[in-house]
């Protein structure tokens, strides 16, 4: 049995390595900038959703306010860059650390809430964050911050002529988020989180300090999401509160995981690979007149998935679980 388990872990790792290699070669074939753009966004949302999945999927604390951490990553990076000349690489890390600290600060009161109350609290807090940034003059308020163009450079993580560097960074970020999840799955924390999700009282009786587990999950999740935010800010070269902290980001982090399989290793990647291209394509075909049609599309998709495959699309691939079952 241990052999099966080890073999499955190794198989996951091999599949991931092959996928990363294939993705890395994709730009050789895909020269179209529009398609490259879609690939970058897909990889980014896969990474974000994977990070969201750590807190909400594994640990079961559903957050619909992760846009806050995304925005914090973006703003920390750009404020440090434009006001103090700090390189985005350091800003990115600083954003991750600040987001993790804020996530724990918010977790301190809110992890005492259960179920729907927790979800509502996360939405409200993210909206408050959005309002604060819209009114914060020093941070550009509603006007936002334009990232000064200093020419293509890895040092400043800025590229105007080609999108490929962004593509590779997004690929690395996505791989990192996946690998962290993979590693956590067979760790003390991973087991504790799943136990907390399924039954906090039983977890407590088995020596799991439930509160600390949630705090740990929140910190890791927020850190990774903020790195994604920093990337997005550099990618757009312009940020304002709505474009990095809007509610749609919270949704777009949750939906791929829900679609692919919440609390699973492959769910977020699979979900993002389907959902994000679809969103982008519907958006561009329908154009400005049909704003919100993409939302209708994934609303319908989620309803269909939760009715037909409540464990997400990945459940189509995992027949081993069903074989072991009695029913």
């Amino acid at each position: 049995m241990d052999k099966n388990f080890a073999a499955r872990r190794r198989r996951d790792l091999i599949i991931a390595a092959v996928l990363v290699a294939l993705a890395a070669l994709a730009p050789l074939l895909i020269k179209d900038v529009y398609v490259q753009n879609i690939l970058i966004l897909t990889l980014m949302y896969a990474a974000l959703s994977q990070s969201w999945n750590i807190l909400s999927g594994y640990c079961g604390q559903i957050s619909l306010g992760h846009a806050l951490y995304f925005g914090i990553g973006a703003y920390t990076t750009e404020l440090l860059f434009t006001k103090f000349g700090v390189l985005p690489w350091f800003g990115m890390l600083a954003g991750g650390v600040i987001a993790a600290i804020i996530a724990m600060g918010l977790g301190y009161p809110f992890f005492r809430l259960r179920g729907h109350y927790f979800v509502i609290a996360t939405i409200v807090i993210a909206e408050i964050g959005l309002l604060l940034f819209q009114n914060w003059e020093w941070a550009g308020a509603a006007m936002g911050i334009t990232v000064p163009v200093r020419g293509d450079s890895w040092l400043k993580f800025q590229f105007m002529r080609s999108k490929l560097p962004y593509f590779y960074f997004a690929l690395v970020l996505c791989s990192l988020a996946w690998f962290v999840t993979w590693w956590l799955e067979d760790s003390k924390w991973g087991f504790w989180w799943r136990a907390v999700k399924d039954n906090p009282e039983a977890a407590e009786s088995l020596g799991v300090v439930v509160f600390n587990s949630k705090m740990g999950a929140a910190a890791v999740s927020a850190f990774l999401v903020a790195i994604g935010g920093a990337f997005y800010a550099q990618f757009l070269a312009y940020i304002d509160p709505e474009s990095v902290m809007g509610f749609q980001f919270s949704l777009l982090m949750a939906l791929p995981a829900v679609l692919g399989g919440i609390g699973t290793l492959w769910g977020p990647v699979l979900g993002a690979a389907i959902l994000i291209p679809m969103t982008e394509l519907t958006r561009s075909y329908i154009g400005g007149s049909g704003r919100g049609v993409d939302l209708i599309v994934y609303g319908a998709l989620i309803v269909a998935i939760s009715l037909a495959l409540p464990r997400g699309l990945v459940s189509l691939f995992s027949r081993s679980k069903a074989k072991g079952a009695t029913r």
Partner: protein, 243 residues
């Protein structure tokens, strides 16, 4: 030698309701002690106080020579208190082995060791063949056994069993009884709450009878079942007269 577990003058009030009043019991190392009593006697409350789900209103609880009165459940588990739940609380989306690994992680920080320990416990409890099944797919008797396995994986000094034998078929109950004996033979002290006297009495070294939140009688099972106070508590005064 001091007792492994002691409650000293424990009271628990829920609003106007007194669930436990001045309960002082002790459990010695290596014993199997049965905590019995009719419905509403305060067994489950006392059990939860010992497990650390909530602190008592008054009084103190001592485990292994240490005052644990205000210690949270997770910490008590680390000190060596393992428990099961009357209404089973399996981790439903996890496999049987993963359920047990959660318990094993208390004393094994390296995953491979925790996994080995979990497999050992599954062998011990007779669940090895079901290791890779989702907990939600187990039949009720297996779920009870999983509760015990999970608690055993924490390598407790004291195992608290909350009605693990209630509601089982006679065959299942016999398997359960054998398992409890095996646990004691492995050197673990057992305190079990049970409702059904016939099952527990042959199993336990000592029985403590609670009634209306107080300790009614305490002693050898054979003496306890003959005690008129116990009979009247269970069956009413009319039957006690004849005894």
């Amino acid at each position: 030698m001091t007792a492994l577990l002691e409650t000293r003058g424990v009271w628990q009030r829920f609003g106007g309701l007194v669930a436990n009043s001045d309960v002082s019991i002790s459990v010695g190392r290596g014993e199997i002690v049965g905590l019995i009593g009719p419905n509403g006697a305060g067994k489950s409350t006392l059990f939860n106080l010992i497990a650390g789900v909530l602190p008592p209103t008054q009084g103190s609880i001592w485990f292994d020579g240490e005052d644990v009165t205000n210690m949270p459940a997770a910490e008590r588990c680390q000190r060596g208190v393992g428990r099961t739940f009357q209404v089973v609380k399996s981790f439903e989306t996890m496999t049987v082995i993963d359920n047990v690994i959660v318990g094993a992680l208390v004393r094994n920080t390296v995953m491979r060791e925790a996994r080995r320990k979990a497999h050992e416990v599954l062998e011990f409890t007779g669940l090895a063949a079901r290791a890779d099944v989702l907990a939600s797919d187990l039949v009720p008797a297996e779920k009870r056994r999983l509760e015990v396995a999970r608690a055993l994986a924490t390598e407790p000094k004291l195992l608290l069993l909350d009605e693990v034998l209630t509601g089982l078929t006679p065959t299942e109950a016999q398997t359960g009884v054998a398992l409890v004996r095996k646990v004691r033979d492995a050197g673990i002290t057992v305190l079990m709450v049970e409702h059904v006297m016939e099952i527990v009495m042959p199993l336990v070294d000592r029985a403590i009878v609670l009634d209306l939140g107080k300790v009614l009688v305490e002693g050898k099972p054979s003496d306890v079942v003959r005690d008129p106070k116990v009979i009247s508590a269970y069956l009413g005064d009319r039957h006690a007269v004849g005894a």
